[in-house]
């Protein structure tokens, strides 16, 4: 039981982190960035190149990954989203599917399907919590996620810019009233999304072990997307809590059904949770304000 909880929570924080990224972009633009996971994978390939291939320290690889993921997100916003003739949430979302396809095919062409070694920040045995060995990487991961969650929360709630970001989706006028240009809000949500995608991918990588094209889409994004739905696609806290819950559920299911030969059982759980939320609480577990139904 303790083991299930610890493993689940460690991974769940990363699911939650990416879910917060998805939710931020949804609140800022009304669209879902389906490429968000793969933007993280792309950063991870950069980290692989800097550390494993070039032999530089982990922190350099991590910085490179975050920088490239943020740049990629911002470039997409600047080159594809902003010049759009019909900038509807549907059109933006379909365009992100294009970005996802482009990134996946680029990775297949450039790196091939053969798995690559992933960079690990700290090697060593780590500490035992509730009878479970928690690696130094996982501790670092917990620390970093906690710092981001607290920092982001303070930033969004305590600064005018942050309040502008939170208001953008529901009421663009309110955003203008606090003196924040919508353009900067949009750039911020895409950039911040890219940053959390890179970080989540970097920290989940040592757990998965190998890097292949589609890495973060398969291991992170699909769970984070359901976590964001659990938060009603509108609540940042709800998305994070959803991530934690899905992390624990995943580790629980894998533990309970460890005898079963069926591969990929955790995906069945994600789908079931997603469907249940849509049927029972489509506005999310934390009961965000009613956004549907109005014209």
């Amino acid at each position: 039981m303790g083991q299930v909880l610890v493993i689940g929570l460690v991974e769940g924080t990363l699911f939650g982190l990416l879910a917060v990224g998805i939710t931020l972009i949804y609140r800022g633009t009304g669209s879902i960035n389906f490429a968000l996971g793969e933007i993280g994978t792309f950063g991870l390939y950069v980290a692989w190149w800097l550390t494993i291939d070039r032999g530089l320290p982990w922190i350099v690889g991590a910085a490179g990954a975050v920088a490239v993921s943020v740049a990629l997100s911002l470039a997409f916003e600047r080159l594809v989203v902003r010049p759009m003739k019909v900038r509807s949430p549907l059109a933006i979302s379909v365009a992100t599917v294009g970005l996802l396809t482009a990134l996946l095919s680029f990775e297949f062409q450039k790196f091939g399907e053969s798995p690559r070694e992933v960079p690990v920040p700290i090697h060593g045995l780590g500490v035992r919590i509730a009878g479970v060995n928690v690696s130094p990487t996982q501790l670092l991961s917990l620390g970093v996620v906690a710092a981001i969650a607290l920092g982001l929360g303070q930033f969004l709630r305590r600064t005018d810019f942050g309040l502008g970001v939170l208001a953008a989706a529901q009421d663009p006028d309110a955003t203008r009233l606090v003196g924040v240009p919508l353009r900067r809000v949009t750039a911020f949500v895409w950039g911040a999304g890219g940053a959390v995608a890179a970080l989540a991918a970097l920290f989940v990588a040592p757990t998965v072990g190998v890097l292949t094209p589609g890495f973060a889409s398969t291991h992170l994004f699909v769970v984070a997307l359901i976590a964001a739905v659990v938060g009603g696609l509108s609540s940042l806290q709800g998305a994070f809590v959803g991530g934690l819950a899905l992390g624990v559920l995943k580790s629980g299911v894998l533990r309970v059904f460890s005898e079963s030969a069926l591969p990929g059982k955790e995906y069945l759980v994600y789908l079931a949770i997603g469907v249940a939320v849509l049927l029972l609480r489509p506005d999310g577990i934390l009961g965000a304000p009613r956004l549907r139904g109005a014209t």
Binding site: S93, V97, S105, Q109, L268, T295
Partner: protein, 617 residues
């Protein structure tokens, strides 16, 4: 939407001719040795991809809903067809190929219905969310289960065997694939020309508008995904029997994403566009592979993805749409919109609707609104409003901007659900019913922003407006048989009569977006009247009209009351028009009712003047 032709005998013959060519050409070319096994396999894959693209096009191009997991549905079709047709330990009786295809089609439809159910009740991107997760579920898990595929080993799908003829040669199987492509094209063409095609298009344009014409939005979205899923299952089975082997990896997410890419760059909603894109890709991939090697061919997907982003950024309807628009612009230039004086004569009462209750047979008002309250977040947009609309009157609803008039309209028509209150039409309580039920009960309406499918022609909008009287079923829509042709012909006649009466005959086939704003208003009002509703609710019909047209509008509004014997509820900012035509008016300010009475009395009251002036300052 592609302009569509009703299924006349000539059209049937044309399809038969195409079918004969499609079947005989590959067989003959195969005999001649031109179409060797490798080339026929490449073409076969392209044709299967084209069927899959048509399937996704029904959902995405017609109904505007996204599936990111379409290849999982193809996979369902392939695995089911394998279960049915391949002899195995658990399945001693291998059934024929055709049974496999039917089972695959059915399974694809059923699975799509089940996964669409939770997502499509809601507005927005939820189907994309559910389908992407579904693709992972199938590929990472169920397609690898021992029940479906004995681990990730995969399954066999035998080529068809008809009598003693075995379709082992790829050119012969290509003939089968092409025959199915022609059949699916025919079904797709029937669908587009039917009430299904129009309802899907309306949903894609604007769900609220679609519901105001009586379209049950959730039901039709589900129908689009079910039809799309069935076609995907069929495509998957055909694909599997082509390669005679599939495993979980065959249906990976990357395939689904690539299919979506093809459909978007081919042109959402264009049959010819998406089929061309799929065939072109198949050939291009093969030729590039032969000339430059597989590595270069692999960049085609990358290039397509960039093209998708470009297509979406530049024009929301893809390449085929851009070409079509350019052609339309050229054609429209010659017949530029001239001023016309629309007439409104009595529109014939459509069959299939309940007879209108005459004023004498009911005691109460036609429409009774009781204590309606609507809250948006913390803001009270409509505050405990009660109004009566007596039969055969024109009742005005006025008030400064932001008073809650349109919100009240939306509460009456069912476009939004009020937080409190009741809506009754002819004594029947409609509170809590969805918009399409209220449309069927006899409430027609127009919108502040034109509520028409602006890509469609005037005639097609008039047909869309008659959605409730199109009582034929979905299967009749797809086959173009049964009651569908007769009912469609009646609807078309009524549409033509209405267009004639409005004075729009020469614009019957013109897309609504090419008409002037005032003309669009007239068409919209015509659409609201074509099913002869009890109550017509008009939201600022004079907005954007020239002064001369407003005078004409006043005459037409009185015609609607006196000649057509309808009841009108009217939102207007043009006070002279209101004073001219309304029998009584209600005044809203800040969500609350502040006055009611005869027009001339009400506008002279100090509280009304203050509400208007206060808003003006």
């Amino acid at each position: 939407m592609t302009p569509t032709v009703p299924m006349t005998p000539t059209v049937w013959l044309r399809y038969l001719g195409v079918l004969l060519v499609a079947v005989s050409a590959p067989v003959l070319l195969g005999e001649m040795g031109v179409l060797n096994d490798t080339r026929a396999l490449v073409l076969g894959e392209a044709v299967a991809l084209a069927i899959a693209a048509l399937s996704l096009n029904v959902l995405m191009g017609y109904a505007g809903q996204i599936s990111l997991g379409h290849f999982a549905l193809l996979g369902i079709g392939a695995f089911v067809s394998s279960k049915v047709t391949a002899p195995s330990a658990g399945n001693p009786v291998a059934l024929p190929f055709v049974v496999g295809l039917v089972a695959a089609t059915g399974a694809g439809g059923v699975v799509a219905f089940l996964i669409g159910l939770p997502a499509l009740r809601l507005r927005g991107l939820y189907l994309a969310v559910v389908t992407i997760v579904f693709n992972f579920v199938m590929v990472q898990s169920l397609f690898q289960s021992s029940w479906l595929s004995s681990g990730s080993g995969g399954v066999e799908l035998p080529r068809p065997l008809i009598g003693s003829f075995d379709f082992v040669r790829n050119a012969d199987y290509l003939a089968v694939l092409l025959a199915v492509l022609v059949l699916v094209w025919l079904i797709d063409a029937n669908l587009s020309a039917s009430k299904l095609g129009r309802a899907f298009h309306a949903i894609r344009s604007d769900e609220t508008m679609a519901a105001s014409f009586g379209v049950d939005v959730t039901r039709y979205k589900l129908m689009a995904f079910t039809i799309s899923g069935a076609l995907a299952g069929l495509a998957g089975a055909l694909y599997g029997h082509l390669f005679t082997f599939v495993n979980s990896g065959t249906f990976d997410l990357t395939q689904s994403l690539f299919l979506l890419t093809l459909v978007v760059i081919g042109g959402l909603g264009s049959r010819a566009g998406v089929v061309a894109a799929a065939l072109l890709y198949g050939v291009l991939d093969f030729v590039l592979g032969e000339v430059f090697g597989a590595d270069v061919a692999g960049w085609v997907v990358f290039g397509s993805a960039l093209l998708l982003m470009f297509t979406i950024a530049q024009h929301a309807t893809g390449l085929a749409g851009a070409i079509r628009d350019a052609r339309e612009r050229r054609n429209e230039r010659s017949v530029h919109v001239a001023a016309i004086t629309p007439q409104m004569v009595d529109l014939p009462r459509p069959t299939g609707l309940p007879a209108r209750v005459s004023a004498s047979s009911t005691d109460g008002p036609l429409l009774a609104v009781r204590g309606v309250t609507v809250d948006f977040g913390g803001l009270r947009a409509v505050d405990d409003v009660s109004i009566d609309v007596p039969t055969g009157r024109i009742v005005g609803l006025i008030g400064p901007n932001g008073a809650g008039k349109t919100t009240l309209f939306n509460a009456i028509s069912g476009a939004l659900r009020p937080d409190a209150g009741h809506i009754e039409l002819l004594g029947r309580d409609l509170s809590g019913t969805p918009a399409h039920v209220r449309a069927a009960a006899g409430i027609g309406r127009t919108f502040q922003m034109i509520g028409l499918a602006t890509d469609l022609s005037v005639t097609e909008n008039m047909l869309l407006a008659q959605h409730q009287v199109a009582t034929y079923g979905p299967l009749e829509s797809l086959a173009g048989l049964g009651r569908a042709p007769r009912i469609e012909a009646e609807m078309r006649q009524r549409a033509n009569d209405a267009i004639e009466a409005l004075g729009f005959a020469r614009y019957a086939d013109t897309p609504v977006k090419n008409l002037s704003h005032g003309q669009q208003r007239i068409v919209e009002i015509g659409c609201a009247l074509v099913t002869a509703p009890e109550l017509v609710m008009l939201d600022e019909p004079s907005a954007g009209m020239a002064p001369g047209a407003v005078e004409n509008l006043a005459v037409r509004l009185r015609d609607i009351r006196d000649e057509l014997d309808r009841t009108v509820l009217l939102i207007e900012h043009n006070i002279p028009l209101v004073l001219d035509v309304c029998d009584e008016i209600y005044v809203l300010a800040n969500g609350a009712l502040i006055a009611h009475g005869l027009p001339d009395d009400v506008v002279a009251r100090p509280e009304v003047i203050e509400a208007y002036l206060g808003a003006a300052i």
